[in-house]
């Protein structure tokens, strides 16, 4: 059985591991545009000279030999022939019995001014991006980042460590608007500012100016103001990598369409990870990869953990967690606790916790995702919300694994 995987990110590697655990004899091949295995979530540690290429890997160095996997690094798949079951590389055709598309996402560069064509504009998705930025950083004077989301702040954090002046332009009135509320965001904003970062919030870029070398020298805001810069990093969202699907017959619109078994519209072709649009977070990609792999090994398994409204951040050794809906509606109850170095906010709707933000103190906080995801009624607990722990839901199986023991009526 030839199991072929396109992509060596979270989903692709998790799938390969899973197939190998299930089946010792399958032929497993991974083809990837990446030259090496690395965690995208750690790219800023490379840019900031905290890690080298080797320590960015999230698998042991001997992963491919121990698991007996054939690996084509630095090879892009150009097209997929679903009639004859093979994929097309630059100089090679590879046949498959089962194919997994785990091609992830690409940075979106908006079509404004010369952002798409200028030679000093970068996305922040691949190690090649992090490498180029790290190489050029010593010689640039002013770096402008588009977008104050997680990725924008990741790269800013790295550049500030290198003592580079950074200016971040963001359309929303606060930073990290998708992840945390304005109170928690203001704390990070101040920390970034104290370390040399400038923010332009509520600001929309409408145009750019370039020099004769095709490099952007200024970006223009809606107000007409020009901001000088000699490097632009765009962190304004991602789009599933679907280019290789053109002409394949595999159905997709923005993302690849998959059924609950993560099979695409074509026989023997599966998809997993952020290319399915089911969630742009690491754990979701891993779980999708594992699920698709089981199905590729004829172990029928549905992908069920679709809850992805969860994030952690850690800048300047100040960690933050947010789960669920962080924007309360008018009839929600909001509980806030502020003590030095810790901010906690819990949002409750109809006796059910729908969202939480914890900044500073994440101790034993794993229960919140479970309570929110499973809509557990917490109103019957005769205890302060701030002291809830797994002790309040304690259950244990005969093999010693924990389980939640909540009165059935409490589970909506």
């Amino acid at each position: 059985m030839k199991q072929v995987i396109i992509g060596s990110g979270a989903a692709g590697i998790a799938a390969a591991k899973t197939i190998r655990n299930i089946n010792k004899n399958n032929d497993i091949t991974i083809v990837s545009s990446d030259e090496s295995i690395y965690s995208r979530c750690m790219l800023h540690k490379y840019t900031g000279h905290e890690r080298d290429q080797t320590s960015l890997s999230f698998v042991p160095n001997d992963f491919f030999t121990t698991n007996n996997i054939t690996w084509y690094p630095g090879e892009s798949v150009l097209s997929i022939d679903t009639k004859n079951n093979h994929i097309q590389l630059q100089n090679k055709t590879l046949p498959y019995d089962n194919l997994l598309i785990a091609t992830g996402s690409e940075a979106v560069i908006p079509n404004i001014g010369q952002l798409k064509t200028a030679t000093n504009v970068y996305g922040y998705r691949h190690l090649t991006d992090a490498k180029t930025i790290r190489e050029k950083a010593p010689n640039v004077k002013k770096i402008l980042i588009v977008g104050a989301g997680l990725v924008g702040l990741d790269v800013a954090y790295a550049l500030l460590k290198l003592k580079k002046p950074v200016i971040i332009v963001e359309m929303a009135p606060q930073i990290l608007s998708l992840n945390i509320d304005s109170t928690a965001a203001a704390v990070y904003q101040k920390l970034f500012e104290q370390n040399g970062c400038t923010f332009r919030l509520n600001s929309k870029i409408t145009n750019t100016q370039s020099n004769q070398n095709g490099e952007i020298t200024h970006i223009t805001l809606e107000t007409g103001e020009n901001i000088a810069c000699d490097m632009v990093i765009v962190a304004a969202g991602v789009r599933p990598s679907t280019k290789l699907l053109e002409g394949s017959g595999i159905e997709y619109d923005r993302a690849i369409k998959v059924d609950p078994y993560l099979k695409t519209s074509c026989a023997n072709v599966y998809a997993a990870g952020s290319v399915t649009g089911l969630g742009e977070i690491w754990q979701s990609a891993v779980k999708q990869g594992e699920t698709a792999a089981k199905n590729m090994c004829n172990i029928k398994t549905q992908f069920t953990d679709t809850f992805t409204a969860k994030n952690t951040l850690n800048f300047f050794d100040l960690p933050t967690l947010s789960v669920g809906n962080i924007n309360p509606e008018s009839d929600d109850t909001v509980h806030i606790q502020t003590i030095p170095n810790s901010y906690k906010k819990i949002i409750i709707r109809n006796n059910i916790v729908t969202g939480i933000i914890l900044q500073g103190n994440l101790n034993y906080s794993g229960i919140w995702q479970y309570l929110i995801k499973n809509k557990i009624d917490v109103s019957q607990l005769k205890k302060s919300l701030w002291s809830i722990s797994f002790a309040d839901f304690y259950g244990i199986d005969p093999d010693g694994q924990y389980k939640y023991d909540c009165p059935a009526a409490n589970q909506k």
Binding site: L362, W368, Q369, F390, I396
Partner: protein, 152 residues
């Protein structure tokens, strides 16, 4: 399936003495010494287990389960948190850890946490792997509320 060892829990026998937590702190302290000079206020000596109470004041030992399907491992983006295929322990490599704390958010039982003083690594049960006598917490428990069993 190979067998694994797990710390089994009979919470009805726990009287909240926290001998297990002290033993864990002592086993993981960075300086040397005996239990009698262990600095309980030094954040680097944190316990990997905890005893919590429910609303009725009943004690519950909360210990890492080294789960069969560990959510902390699937959440880990650096490869620091892994399930050992041989002994089935969920192992944490502080050097590889990137301190993103996705594992903390994803442990359904809220067992793990960032270290208090620096918030740069994860406080996680290592099954006292370095100690040839095995889990210190189990040996310290006077009530046999925690004990080791082989599970298939």
């Amino acid at each position: 399936m190979s067998q694994i060892q797990r710390i089994m829990i009979d919470h009805t026998k726990c009287n909240g003495c926290k001998s297990c937590s002290l033993a864990c702190m002592q086993a993981h302290r960075q300086d040397s010494g005996s239990l009698y000079d262990l600095d309980l206020t030094d954040g680097t000596n944190e316990s990997r287990n905890s005893i919590q109470t429910d609303a009725n004041g009943v004690y519950f030992p909360l210990f890492c389960r080294h789960c069969d399907d560990p959510q902390c491992v699937s959440a880990c983006m650096s490869g620091a948190m892994t399930k050992n295929p041989e002994n089935k322990l969920v192992q944490y490599d502080g050097k590889q850890c990137a301190a993103c704390f996705m594992c903390v958010m994803n442990c359904p039982f809220g067992i793990i946490k960032p270290d208090n003083p620096t918030k740069t690594y994860v406080i996680k049960c290592d099954f006292c792997a370095k100690d040839k006598n095995g889990p210190n917490c189990v040996r310290a428990c006077p009530n046999k509320a925690i004990y080791i069993e082989e599970v298939v």
